[in-house]
């Protein structure tokens, strides 16, 4: 990994605050943005969709709370709890399978002692599955926050975990 500096910035999120969310919401134009767009913004801002946001969104979009909840829960991107500073998404789809992603996934879960959708107590990492990152010609792939690491191997994986743990310890 000599050519491969792992300088991936941590995810930084604002602390959830209802008044601030209310102000953010006012910046959106209902003609331009749909509910999914707005949910993306809030997840980027707070790391997750706080339940207290739902009534605000419902009022803003003239929907019921149930409908907003239905939309949030449909999409796998949206979380209901704050994630770790690093979100690791490891590809589970066929191209990566053909290059050993199943074994790598097992290694990753074992190393972090967690399953998918969980946050590790050993490192500041939330683990998620992903089905294709569109980088299949360099399988297997792993995404850390928004950075993709391709041609993943056991060695690379270990080094990544070591690096991320070091960053955490700093």
């Amino acid at each position: 990994m000599s050519d491969f500096a792992l300088n991936i910035p941590k995810n930084h999120y604002e602390d959830w605050q209802l008044d601030a969310a209310h102000k953010h919401l006012k910046n959106f134009d209902i003609e331009e943005h749909n509910l999914v767009d707005v949910l993306h913004f809030f997840q980027d801002t707070y790391g997750y969709i706080d339940k207290a946001l739902i009534p605000l969104l419902a009022k803003f979009f003239n929907l019921s709370k149930a409908e907003v909840h239905g939309v949030i829960s449909f999409y796998h991107d949206f979380r209901d709890t704050k994630p770790a500073s690093y979100i690791l998404k490891i590809c589970q789809a066929e191209s990566c399978q053909a290059m050993g992603s199943r074994a790598l996934t097992a290694e990753l879960k074992a190393a972090l002692k967690i399953d998918f959708h969980e946050t590790s107590k050993l490192a500041d990492i939330t683990l998620e599955p992903v089905y294709c990152l569109g980088n299949c010609s360099c399988s297997p792939n792993l995404m850390i926050n928004t950075k993709i690491i391709s041609r993943l191997t056991s060695e690379k994986l270990n080094q990544i975990l070591t690096n991320l743990r070091e960053v955490q310890d700093d």
Binding site: N62, S64, A66, H69, G70, S73
Partner: protein
Amino acid sequence: MSLEKDLDYGTPESLCQELISLEIDGHQVVVPEGTSIMRAAKQLGTSIPKLCATDSLEAFGSCRLCLVEIEGRRGTPASCTTPVEAGMIVHTQTQKLAKLRKGVMELYISDHPLDCLTCSANGDCELQDMAGTVGLRDVRYGYQGDNHLNATRDNSNPYFSFDPSKCIVCSRCVRACDEVQGTFALTISKRGFESHVSAGIEDSFLDSECVSCGACVQACPTATLMEKTVIEHGVPEHSIETTCAYCGVGCTFNAEMKGDQVVRMVPAKSGKANEGHACVKGRFAWGYASHKERILKPMLRSSIDDPWREVSWEEAIQFTAKKFRELQQEYGRKAIGGISSSRATNEEVFVVQKLVRAAFENNNIDTCARVCHSPTGFGLNKTLGTSAGTQDFISVESADVILLIGANPTDAHPVFASRMKKRLREGAQIIVVDPRRIDLVESPHIKAAAHLAILPGTNVALINAFAHIIVEEDLVDWDYVNHRCDKDLFENWLAFIKREQNSPSYVAKVLGVEAETLRKAARLYARAERAAIYYGLGVTAHS
């Protein structure tokens, strides 16, 4: 009367004038364009298996039981979502379809409790019916697979229970809440196999936006949503048609009974006011029917100091008739009269006035609506020649702009409010004139084009200002005026309405509403192709 179940055509009626002829299982049928194959088949008496379809809801196409084969077309389209086409040749029963339907039912039952005999819907369950219809004999997947059998029951609602372990995720409850009731309290949460019905944000039904109208319970094809009275008493055996007396809407119900015990109240599709819908009051608040304090026999007493004495109907009627006659003999024919209640049905009111005119031989008949509705009754009589409203309930489906004044239908006349909301979701606009911020000003999928929050007691000023704007901006329907109005009287009125005191700028302060807001609203109303006014006690109860 035996238990009368309304026929379910699967999909709503098409109102199209064009007729289409097609062949289903060798029989010709002619139906309006836009009719689904499923409905056309039902018209022939052919029931295509179905679970997610019911004629009170728009077609959805999720259960995949109603598949059919159409000659010249690939695949097996769903009959609920496929509209008829001229000359179509449809087969609803083939070997292939039978296998597919059985395959789908096998999947359903692989995630469903096997407690039919002790289930509260036993004998009244569409899932059970369909398992029988398709001839399901075996579930080869076994019952050890992933399932929802341990999902927790929600008993929070006082009138019905929600048992998600029996849910087949057909979305009928969600769609009934959206399309029929217009509350949008339910959703499907998550997706795929994790899909499940959620009230609010995974709340209990009682804590959610649910208003307990029961549309979801009625729509549910299984025991997932079930009246607690049915759970307690079992499935009813006969039904009696009746009219709900809670409010002036007059919803028709089938009281489903077991002996003389009401088990549940099911709104009748034939009811012109409600067309199969109900509100919490009519559907669930009928505990009075068998309340121990309910008076079931006539009672008499000779003076206010005496205790009541139970008597036979014969004695009661004889006694009353005799007393009436004595009063008339002593004080004259006009000495007695009758007052009917607004709670009574039209038929009952008719009989009372007949009694007064034919038996009492006078015209001393009135109704309690006199107290509440005399101002509008007077006004309507003066202008239109009748003191009653000129619209029936169904006409709201044709309204383009609705002027709602002094009424809060969502609370007071919920079933009509649902019909109004449906029309608003279809694109009609509403102007709400009310000091209160009522539900129809803003609620899910409803946003009033204008809310004129006038100060209490200023309705007349507002109406006159509206008229002033319409006259000043020449938005008057002259064609109507010339054909229907008394020319001189209208000229008088014009002269009055044009006065400065009726101008929006003059009355703005009186109303507490800006002149420009009034102008916009008046224009919206006047320019509509089909504008309709709905008023309530908020205007009539003012002198």
